[in-house]
Amino acid sequence: MKQLLILSGKGGTGKTTIAGAFIKLYNARAYADCDVDAPNLHLISKHKNLPKKKDYYGLPKANIDLDLCIECGLCQANCRFGAIDYQDGYFVDTNACEGCGVCEFICPASAVSLKETVAGELFLYKDDSVFSTAKLKMGSGTSGKLVAEVKKQLLENTKKVEIAIIDGSPGIGCPVIASLSGADIALIVAEPSVSGISDMERIIKIKSVMAEAMLPIPPVMPPTRLFPKSTTFSIIFFSNSI
């Protein structure tokens, strides 16, 4: 199975629109939405059945047992993420906690333990086609790990499919890097604006770090007069080997 990943760097350029169109035109049997921070593809996918849901656990997060805590403050002093606060006793800000386990290690009273926490939900739609998607819980981190789970769920549930179409997320950070792993072709959707070009240039740079090959395409609806005068099309037609 070849994985076609649709990216853009900038948000709102039309990744989901292109993904939706390709799924329809190709009659794709396998597709996924890797924008776990703000998934949208499910809004236009045509599945009759309700999805199968599965809780997604991020890294376990620290929890302080106040009965054991001797208030030495070592956990707070050693936490690099500012995740331990004090108000009538030490407590963990689970949004800030990255689950590194330093506090658990450092605590002389064994008052800190790491507890599993639900950090999002995975959805699997399955009838004549398979659609894998997920939603990260508000304010959670580790979206890269959830992206990897979305792709794993897709692969586990598809057999003998020629192509999988994967809707990526904006940006160039961990969810994007996670979605690039295993992708055969990345398609970059660009928009005719200075922001669109700047963001496309940055996502193309990621290629040298991560992806094996990328094929950018010209913008979907290029109202040419919106192109900044200083820009030539050569940037858009960043030709490359697939």
Binding site: G9, K10, G11, G12, T13, T16, D37, A38, N40, L43, I44, L59, N78, R80, F81, N95, E98, G99, C100, G101, V102, F105, I106, L136, M138, G139, S140, G141, S143, G144, S169, P170, G171, I172, G173, C174, I177, E191, P192, S193, V194, S195, G196, S198, D199, R202, K205, I206, V209, M210, R225, L226, F227, P228, K229
Partner: protein, 281 residues
């Protein structure tokens, strides 16, 4: 010190107009700060074209193993929850996935691990007319821009005036980090089902963070507006409407700031600014 009002502009969905709104509000105020927290794909500088006054690199700590001291006990490898360390003939570090927690240096029984700085990006401070600009940029290939955003937020903490903060898209930790100190949040939404769905998400986020907020409807047409319907259903205040207008689109896509040009509807941004000042008082 005068007033310090942090106005955060956010939207779940990308491309709804966060930068358009925050840039124009900052320029309309004239004596404000414009802060670009989208360090993965910063765009505000393309509009303000600021004269850069100061640049600071942002680093995080990563471990460095002294192989003469390392006994190969692998305690560091076992400890690392992020799987950033592995052991072959010696300890191998995968820099990109290291979260800089410092745990490996703590657990090493022979003190073979020290921490060294690794540059992940920079923050820059500039000026464009009277607007002070603060932005950051993450090096390509890095996984998280949060340390850069923290640096930016630290810099603006006690600056005086209105501070307009342009958020990255989504509703993940990076956005949460940005709105933590907000005095007021502007949610920008576009009239599509995608727009409405992602508005619902950021709406939950600002509710969760207990921040005062209002919605700006961008790209409004005469047609249906699912985002507006959502606001009405949830009784959310709509503090501004920006029409879908090719003149504004053209200015914006060419990196021009509407309020600094002779745009016919500039009154929109000035009244939005007044409204924001009123509601954030």
């Amino acid at each position: 010190m005068g007033i310090n009002k942090k106005i955060v502009v956010l939207s779940g969905k990308g491309g709804t107009g966060k930068t358009l709104i925050s840039v124009n509000l900052a320029a309309a105020d004239g004596n404000s700060y414009y802060v670009d927290c989208d360090v993965e794909e910063p765009n505000g500088h393309l509009y303000f074209k600021p004269q850069i006054l100061e640049e600071k690199t942002v680093s995080v700590l990563i471990p460095e193993v002294n192989n003469d001291l390392c006994t190969g006990c692998k305690e560091c490898v076992d400890f690392c929850k992020f799987n950033a360390l592995a052991f072959g003939k010696k300890v191998i570090l995968f820099k990109e996935i290291c979260h800089s927690c410092g745990g490996c240096a703590l657990v090493c029984p022979v003190n073979a691990i020290t921490e060294i700085e690794k540059t992940i990006g920079l923050i820059n401070i500039g000026i464009s007319e009277n607007v002070r600009t603060v932005g950051g940029i993450m090096n390509t290939g890095e996984a998280s821009g949060i340390p850069i955003i923290k640096n930016i937020l630290e810099y603006i903490k006690d600056k005086s005036g209105y501070i307009f903060i342009d958020c990255p898209p989504g509703s993940a930790c990076i956005v949460m980090e940005t709105i933590k100190d907000a005095d007021y949040c502007i949610l920008v939404a576009e009239p599509t089902i995608f727009g409405a769905h992602n508005l619902e998400m950021v709406h939950q986020l600002v509710e969760l963070c207990n921040k005062p907020y209002g919605v700006v409807l961008n790209k409004c047409t005469d047609g249906p507006n699912p985002s507006e319907d959502f606001c009405k259903e949830k009784n959310i205040e709509i503090i501004g409407r920006i029409p879908f207008d090719s003149e504004l689109g053209e200015l914006n896509s060419n990196g021009k700031i509407a309020v600094r040009e002779n745009y016919k509807n500039n009154e929109l941004f000035y009244s939005l600014l007044n409204k924001v000042k009123e509601v954030s008082r």
